[in-house]
Symmetry: none
Subunit: 222 residues, 2 copies
């Protein structure tokens, strides 16, 4: 419950924002957006990671809104540096990639949020307010990533398994030997073995050890 002096609008006036992006056009666009809101104040602009770190030290903004890809020092490296030296500054990462891998890396680097560049003005303002007041913010598009895939998409079956095969696979993944699977499904052990053989062929695994992976991949567990 240790909150690093979260920003409260009433206590300190406007939220001070430092922008970091190597494209002037993008910076201008963001600045134009944020200027419309009185609670936000853009206190500076950096064009690369190193500059962002230095300016953060001098300007002490509440929020650093920073692009991931920048010359000299990228957003992730800068975020790590800032976490170590200026932990009170909330870093909000701006990116064009909705790649799942990125999000994890960004949070690990110490960022407090991750938003995509196609975000609306309203959402961007909300995101800045969120991280300034001590929270974590993520664009809705990358939300499912937080859980680790499998959430929203019902998972396509790339193996073409039949209903019965999925039942057998589920039981196997739970660790049940053929005898128990047979009893549970009311069929012969030999039939279970048949299914097992077909399963291995379809998913391309040599033995039972890997069937768990597939079962999980198909979302048969939970």
């Amino acid at each position: 419950m240790t909150s690093n002096s979260p920003h409260t609008a009433s206590s300190r006036g406007p939220i001070r924002v430092l922008l970091a992006d190597d494209h002037e056009l993008v910076r201008d666009g963001i600045r134009a957006r944020l200027q419309k809101v009185s609670e936000l104040e853009v206190v500076g602009e950096a064009t690369n990671g190193r500059e962002a770190v230095r300016m953060t030290r001098n300007l002490k903004p509440d929020v650093l809104l920073m692009d991931v890809s920048m010359p000299i020092m990228n957003g992730l490296e800068a975020a790590m540096e800032i976490r170590k030296t200026q932990p009170g500054v909330a870093v909000l990462i701006l990116s064009v990639y909705d790649n799942p891998e990125y999000v994890r890396g960004v949070v690990q680097a110490g960022a407090r949020g991750y938003i995509l560049k196609d975000i609306s003005a309203q959402e961007m303002i909300t995101a800045i307010t969120s991280v300034a007041s001590g929270g974590y913010f993520f664009s809705s598009a990358i939300g499912p990533t937080l859980v680790g895939a499998s959430a929203s998409a019902p998972v396509e079956d790339p193996y073409g398994l039949t209903e019965r095969e999925r039942q057998v696979l589920t039981a196997i993944a739970k660790g049940q030997p053929n005898k128990e699977v047979a009893a549970a499904l009311g069929i012969s052990v030999r039939t279970v073995e048949s299914h097992r053989l077909n399963l291995r062929e379809k998913v391309g695994s040599r033995n039972a050890a890997q069937l768990y992976r597939v079962a999980q991949e198909l979302g048969l567990l939970d």
Copy 2:
């Protein structure tokens, strides 16, 4: 980038909030907090999960601010139900637990945020605004959890496995039969069998099928 009609303050007036908590005291407290802000409107109060689901259907709030622990139907079950029937409603979970396990479960259940009950009024308002405008919000205290163990925390080993056992387990999880594991590690097949036996004992699984799960749990794969 499919956003389920995110709330924009300018377009639809105040954010409509439905409260769900079995303690009247807590509801009163939240209501008192939110009433101070003109952009928020509490449209109803539910005292359990089932009621929350029903009221959500009728009142169609923008945000459902809901406790996890409630009688009849808890917050997680309610969240899952709402995701299926009312995906447009952003569920924000309120909890006293900062348990890492909970957060994942909550997001998997379809919630758009997780805040602790010791949160400040300012933060709570920000959180509601965040999820209403299409984002995900998490209290700062539970932020590190989002990364998912494996990174920041070196993953506690609840089974007390030795280094060698982890090596064997990793190979087994990849689907290698004992003979190959033995060859890879330069030891006898019998030794691998010993490790295998010890592994099953330590992690409590009957056969190889479940060892994959453990390997993954310990982050031995990636």
